[in-house]
């Protein structure tokens, strides 16, 4: 039981980075809440994640220099940290997208063959 849950998170974390980068690329600078809301919308609530679990990915991406966070105020005049994609992030997004397509293709193939 518990090991399955772990596996799902492992998979998710690899892809979460990719999704965040893509979101920021299409929508421009966003704060964490907005990113989370967007993810939920896109996945049609299939991907119900605790919003706190976004942070490791954000921290990681920021440390890798793929995104950059700055404090600013929202439309409703609240302060929030807005993340935007960097040039390195754009580059990484291209590479990671390719990698992901290859990998998912392989897994797809394997799974259909095994059946």
């Amino acid at each position: 039981m518990s090991s399955k849950a772990t596996d799902r998170i492992v998979v998710l974390q690899g892809t979460l980075d990719l999704i965040i980068l893509r979101t920021l690329q299409t929508m421009g600078a966003q704060h964490a809440y907005a990113i989370a809301t967007r993810l939920q919308q896109i996945s049609g609530d299939l991907l119900h994640l605790n919003q706190g679990t976004l942070y490791p990915a954000l921290v990681r991406l920021e440390q890798q220099g793929r995104i950059k966070g700055t404090w600013a105020t929202t439309e409703s005049n609240r302060e929030a940290k807005f993340y935007s994609i960097t040039r390195a992030g754009e580059k990484a997004l291209v590479e990671e997208t390719l990698r992901w397509r290859r990998m998912s293709g392989l897994v797809d193939k394997l799974l259909s063959e095994g059946a």
């Binding site: 090991s3 919003q51 706190g52 679990t53 942070y55 921290v59 609240r78 929030a80 897994v107």
Partner: protein, 886 residues
């Protein structure tokens, strides 16, 4: 790299990052809340809904922190958790592996802690590497005049000093005590570079006659006899009836000399006196400190030149003088056995590793699919290997913890069990170096048993593994070979260990059956010292010795009693050269030499040392009649081969204390053990105490100072220890000031003499037993695994008509092939390794065919037994069930 730096910076910016994180979480919550309020929730409900939507704040913080810190820590924690879960999922495997590793690691740590204390740590003197001894054959004493010449002529040494045995009776206080002390030259203690706890060391000039009555106390003596009196300095104490002034107290733990007279408790200056021109009587131990930059070889060459010159000048002196590092003398005898034990436990650990490795291999093939899936899902091979290694490290770590516990108990037991002969054993402790060793072997162990299976698991094409669909019968050939190799090496290692243990056991029993020459049962011995008491006076000593023995003989429970100066096996051994009447005088240095002992009437009868020829020594053999002597069989055979030695006369070159120069041989006794148990007895002579002016104190020669005590031997009708207190009371009824020491049964003396081989045999046997067990478990594990993998194949064979007996034979044969291959390799290894033990063996050759045969049989039986259990299981396979299972 950038991320690394960012994280690195975060290590220092911990609090700033923490604040930033809280701020972000706060803002996030506020944003959600706002959203909910916009949708029409009341503020309070919005707040709690926001929290729910957000998930655990603390969890988020934790995740945040994890991400901020180093990736490998993150991975490590994950891997450790994952590995821990895996280990818990197979408790049987984990328990067996942990026990095997704990045994291996624990035994290694325990033995290493002994090796560390005894062999590796430097001696507790300043710059001890430059301290050397200059002695006859490396360990024997030298004469005063020679020492004085060396000191004057050598150029390699910063300082050269000497020490001499000195037994002293301390008569301060209530109970008189016989103390072991040393007379030392003034420069000796300063040379060691150890500062006294209080007071001072001897000053120049204090080793001159007239100003030599100062004493330096050891810490234990100061504690025991002077209640740690801080004002002890300058106080007079009475040693051997003379007043000495205490000038210093040494720090706790200070010991000198470290390899001989190790229990010395006080030091006084040595003024040499009359011995200053003596080149023949060897009694000084010489120590020196090499000059900075002078090598041992240079010092040896320097000494060789000097002794060569002196030998020409004074023939038959200065021969066989060896310069040797002090440490070598301290640990020289124990080095080989300790290293052998370390090697033995190393083998045990290797066997444990091999065991765990093939258990892991078996597990790995079961987990092949899991690994393949992980690789397919994007985990890199290094990550998979790292994950498995973490799991292995975790296993080794648990094993190491259990092993440490075992080692702590083990070292305690070792110290308690260890015979007195191991020097510095009191220093055994788990120190930094031992912990480092423990960590080192743990990591190494994990690498040895884990790397191969891990690489095996991560290798191979993931899609192949997935396609195989997890059917277990296509175990790869390669892995089988590896597993067989592991089992075979276990057997080879176990074989070598068992040979080592077997040889030690055989050697020990050969030693046990050695005849000491005398009958030690029911005999009690004790040393009574007369130094400094009124019994020491010349005219009283003979009377005291005679009357004491008479009174002791009349005690109830006492069968007989006698006395000797130095008890065989426990006491000192003196050698004396002599000349035989009517034979040409041999060249100097080639004179016959014999072990020299002085006995009171009744000694031979009490020890049951049988007389072979002639008559024994009686009370009539005293100063009023011509001097006589008894020799041992060895002396008779060597010096009077084919002749009857009775009536022959000899004269001792040094013992000028005899009334007349010539002594007549009156009897020959059986050979008795002398200094060491395993050695063949040398020629020996026994002189009557009542004819020895030295022994009776009527002569004040240099030897007389070493004859201030007597060793009583008392044969009881019952248990020897039962008469001890009666004999002591009898001694004290003469004089309450007479110190009694070394109260020992002869049985104890004999068992102490074989304590070292017994200790080594016990340890080695223990390790070999563990090795045998591990090897058997190994072959059992592999065979049962193989049977379970081959269930279907065996089922098919049975359904095709193979008989149960055939199946049994097949499985057993498979196991025995590995055992045989291992044994063959073990024989080769053992033949090589046992040569190293040759020096430690007694009465058995390193290639002893009995031992080799017995060990091969034992191992073969163990393998057969271990293979039979799974083989019987295989014969019970029901073909229908086996096939349906697939």
């Amino acid at each position: 790299m950038r991320r690394f730096l960012a994280r690195f910076a975060n290590l220092f910016r911990g609090r700033g990052a923490e604040r930033e994180m809280s701020r972000e979480i706060r803002s996030h919550l506020a944003l959600i809340e706002e959203d909910f309020e916009r949708r029409g929730l009341p503020p309070e409900a919005a707040q709690s809904a926001a929290r729910r939507a957000y998930g655990g704040v603390e969890l988020a913080k934790e995740l945040h922190r994890e991400a901020r810190s180093f990736a490998w820590i993150e991975h490590l924690i994950k891997d450790v958790r994952y590995g821990g879960r895996n280990l818990l999922r197979t408790p049987g495997f984990t328990a067996v592996a942990v026990i095997a590793l704990a045994l291996g690691i624990g035994a290694n740590t325990a033995i290493f802690s002994v090796v560390n204390a005894v062999l590796l740590r430097p001696l507790a003197y300043k710059d001890a590497g430059r301290l050397v001894t200059i002695l006859h054959y490396g360990t024997g004493p030298v004469a005063t005049a020679n020492y004085i010449d060396w000191r004057g002529q050598s150029r390699s040494f910063e300082a050269m000093g000497a020490a001499d045995y000195w037994a002293a009776n301390l008569t301060n206080g209530d109970v008189p005590e016989h103390l072991l002390g040393l007379k030392v030259t003034q420069n000796l203690l300063p040379m060691l570079g150890v500062r006294p706890l209080m007071g001072r060391l001897f000053a120049p000039g204090e080793d001159r006659k007239g100003s030599d009555h100062e004493a330096i106390l050891s810490y234990p003596l100061w504690q025991r006899r002077f209640d740690r009196d801080p004002n002890v300095l300058g106080k007079p104490i009475v040693l051997n009836g003379e007043a000495y002034t205490v000038v210093g107290v040494m720090p706790p733990g200070f010991k000198f000399a470290p390899f001989w007279a190790t229990h010395a408790e006080l030091w006084v200056p040595d003024a040499f006196g009359d011995t200053i021109h003596d080149r023949d009587s060897n009694h000084l131990r010489v120590f020196a400190r090499l000059k900075r930059g002078v090598t041992l070889a240079q010092a040896r060459a320097d000494m060789a030149t000097i002794t060569g010159r002196l030998e020409k000048q004074y023939p038959a002196t200065n021969r066989n003088i060896v310069v040797r590092p002090l440490k070598e003398n301290v640990v020289g005898n124990i080095e080989t056995p300790l290293l052998m034990l370390l090697g033995a436990v190393g083998f045990v650990l290797l066997i444990a590793c091999a065991n765990v490795a093939h258990m892991l291999l078996a597990r790995t093939s079961d987990r092949q699919k899991e690994m393949a899936l992980r690789v397919a899902l994007g985990a890199s091979r290094t990550r998979v290997i790292a994950q498995m290694l973490t799991e292995n490290l975790l296993l080794a770590g648990i094993g190491a913890l259990a092993g440490l516990l075992l080692a702590l108990l083990g070292t305690k037991a070792l110290i308690a069990l260890s015979p007195a002969y191991i020097p510095r054993v009191e220093m055994v402790a788990i120190d930094g170096r031992v912990v480092f060793f423990l960590l080192g072997i743990t990591v190494l162990t994990a690498a040895v048993f884990g790397l191969m299976p891990a690489m095996r698991a991560a290798a191979g094409n993931p899609s192949d593994a997935l396609k195989e669909g997890g059917r277990g019968d296509s175990d790869s050939k390669h892995r089988n070979r590896l597993r067989n190799f592991l089992v075979a090496s276990e057997f080879a290692l176990a074989f070598m260990l068992l040979i080592g243990a077997g040889l030690m056991i055989r050697s020990f029993f050969a030693l046990e059956s050695v005849d000491p020459g005398f009958n030690p049962h029911n005999v009690l011995s004790m040393v009574v010292s007369v130094a400094g008491t009124k019994e020491a006076e010349p005219h009283r000593r003979a009377i005291f010795y005679r009357e004491l023995l008479q009174k002791v003989r009349s005690l109830p429970g006492v069968n007989s009693a006698g006395a000797i100066n130095h008890l065989p096996l426990a006491g000192d051994t003196w050698g004396l050269s002599f000349s035989i009447e009517g034979r040409p005088k041999p060249r100097p240095g080639d004179e016959p030499v014999a072990v020299y002992r002085i006995v009171m009437p009744g000694y031979f009868e009490t020890m049951r040392l049988p007389l072979r020829r002639g008559r024994t020594i009686t009370g009539q053999d005293d100063a009023r009649v011509p001097d006589v002597v008894i020799i041992n069989q060895r002396a008779a055979n060597q010096f009077w081969p084919g002749e009857n030695p009775i009536g022959k006369r000899i004269t001792f070159d040094e013992d000028k204390g005899s009334a007349s120069d010539w002594v007549t041989i009156i009897g020959v006794v059986k050979n008795a053990k002398q200094e060491t148990w395993a050695a063949e007895p040398d020629p020996e002579v026994y002189l009557p105490a009542l004819q020895s002016r030295n022994f009776l104190g009527e002569d004040k020669g240099p030897i007389a100072a070493h004859m201030m005590y007597i060793t009583l031997v008392v044969r009881a009708y019952g248990k020897a220890s039962d008469v001890a207190s009666a004999v002591k009371q009898m001694v004290w009824s003469f004089d309450r000031n007479l110190p009694i020491s070394d109260v020992l049964t002869m049985d104890r003396v004999v068992s102490d003499a074989t304590a070292e081989p017994r200790f080594e045999m016990l340890l080695l046997s223990m390790f070999a037993a563990v090795a045998l067990l591990l090897a058997a478990v190994g072959i059992y594990g592999v065979m049962s695994y193989s049977v379970s993998r081959r269930t279907r194949e065996i089922g098919i064979r049975i359904s095709l008509g193979a008989s149960r007996a055939e199946v049994l034979r097949m499985v057993v044969r498979q196991g025995m092939i590995q055992a045989l291959a291992g044994t063959a390799a073990g024989v080769a290894g053992a033949l090589l390794l046992s040569q190293l033990m040759a020096k430690m063996l007694y009465g058995v050759r390193p290639t002893d065919p009995v031992t080799f045969g017995a060990v091969a049989t034992v191992l073969g039986l163990a393998a057969l037994l271990a293979a039979c259990v799974p083989a019987r299981k295989a014969t019970r396979i029901e073909p229908m069930i086996a096939l349906r299972n697939e």
